[in-house]
């Protein structure tokens, strides 16, 4: 690899489906991947999987990438044996909410290690044919080792992601009205058990796709979006209010029509 693509040792904390999806591309790019997780993934990673968190933290990781669920983040980070670190390290996370991990990491990660909060705006489904033109949000929360941080971001740049630098707060505001609303509508459509019909319109086909991609994500992820994004509750209210207004306007028109007959 040339000077622009430095080979990184990347240690994952949490090796569920999204972490595995990211690791595949990182391995393809030539980086060395190690992981620890609540469940045992040694069948997947062989000697690169560490059941023992102490041993994992003693490895020479350049980057420690936190990929646990939103709901377990606080517990997981608080259980990390930071004193085992052999050198300052870049701690990065990929959680779908951003103010919450920023706060926990600032609180728990030793001062001499760097912090980068990120959110790849795609997953195993939308990113299955590559990451080109997909959005990658990041906030350089505490970065002194510029070279290391850039090398890590380059993983996503190289794949063609649209790199968007943004504060964690701004992310959460926007994601509440986009991603959280999308997941909510997907879950409503699942509850309604909507499925393709022989007479689908193009618009309805899109809704079925939204439903299906939501169904692939864990319920923990959705609950995390609601509980740990402080802007989500207002969006839920907006959604309810909008439904009531749409329904109200239909009912008013219906009475008017009834009156005319």
């Amino acid at each position: 690899m040339g000077s622009t693509t430095r080979r990184l040792n990347i240690g994952f904390i949490g090796f569920g489906s999204f972490a595995q999806f990211l690791a595949k591309t990182m391995i393809k790019q030539g980086h060395l991947i190690r992981a620890t997780s609540r469940s045992d993934y040694s069948a997947h990673l062989g000697p690169h999987f560490f059941r023992d968190m102490d041993e994992f933290m003693g490895l020479e990781n350049d980057v420690i990438l936190i990929c646990t669920s939103i709901l377990s983040l606080s517990e997981v980070v608080k259980s990390i044996p930071f004193h085992r670190l052999k050198k300052p390290t870049l701690f990065a996370d990929v959680l779908s909410v951003k103010e919450h991990p920023r706060q926990i990491l600032l609180q728990e990660v030793p001062e001499d290690s760097d912090l980068l909060c990120t959110h790849p705006m795609f997953g195993p489904e939308s990113g299955k044919e590559g990451w080109k033109n997909l959005n990658f949000m990041y906030d350089r929360v505490r970065v002194r080792d510029e070279d290391l941080c850039s090398s890590f971001l380059r993983i996503f740049e190289t794949e063609g992601c649209k790199m968007i630098e943004m504060s964690c707060e701004e992310h959460d505001k926007l994601a509440a009205q986009s991603q959280f609303v999308t997941h909510t509508i997907g879950r409503i459509l699942s509850e309604m058990q909507i499925t393709n019909t022989p007479i689908d319109t193009k618009g309805f086909e899109k809704l079925v796709q939204v439903k299906e991609s939501t169904a692939n994500d864990s319920l923990d992820l959705y609950i995390g979006l609601f509980i740990h994004n402080r802007f989500a509750k207002q969006q839920m209210k907006n959604l309810e209010g909008a439904l009531q207004r749409v329904k109200g306007s239909l009912e008013a028109k219906m009475e008017e029509e009834d009156g005319r007959e």
Copy 2:
């Protein structure tokens, strides 16, 4: 034109945006188009536009295609001077609900004329790059002149539509859970004023598209879907119920998490 593509004289009643969209392809195929409508479209159609309904009905139309709004259908059909017809004619409609026009047409159209109820499951937006693989639903409500009916259906077959023969009742059942739900969600998203953000996911981009395509359709069309499809009201209830269940499950989980802290 060969024997398989008979040149038809097609008379439109209602020449709003959807009728104009259909007419463009019919003209391209070589059919002769005439129209009458509440508003004046002579700037559009020149001598082929007839302000006078009596004159229009006296023309030798092979097919009379009803393209008025769902809400005005009953009034419009009841005002047609059927006695002016020079010969039995095929009456067809394209309304987005089907039981309602079927009933009105069976009631009003002279017994010696044929009836075909149809619903092209696309519009100016989804059909702007051609009609290939788009769904076209039809119900041969009262057809004796098989040749004429087939010639009319061939307009859509020729463009590559998926031709789906289905009863009007079955259509309304399916369209309530697909098209009506899609329009409702599109209108809810409009009410919420959702727009693209710099960090859109693919799923959210689809919702913005649903919102935008709904915004292009008239409010009359949406109200018509609700008032004149007897299955729509239940779908509105299902949507509300599903939203309440999704919200309830989030709130329950939130209390549980609060308890743990």
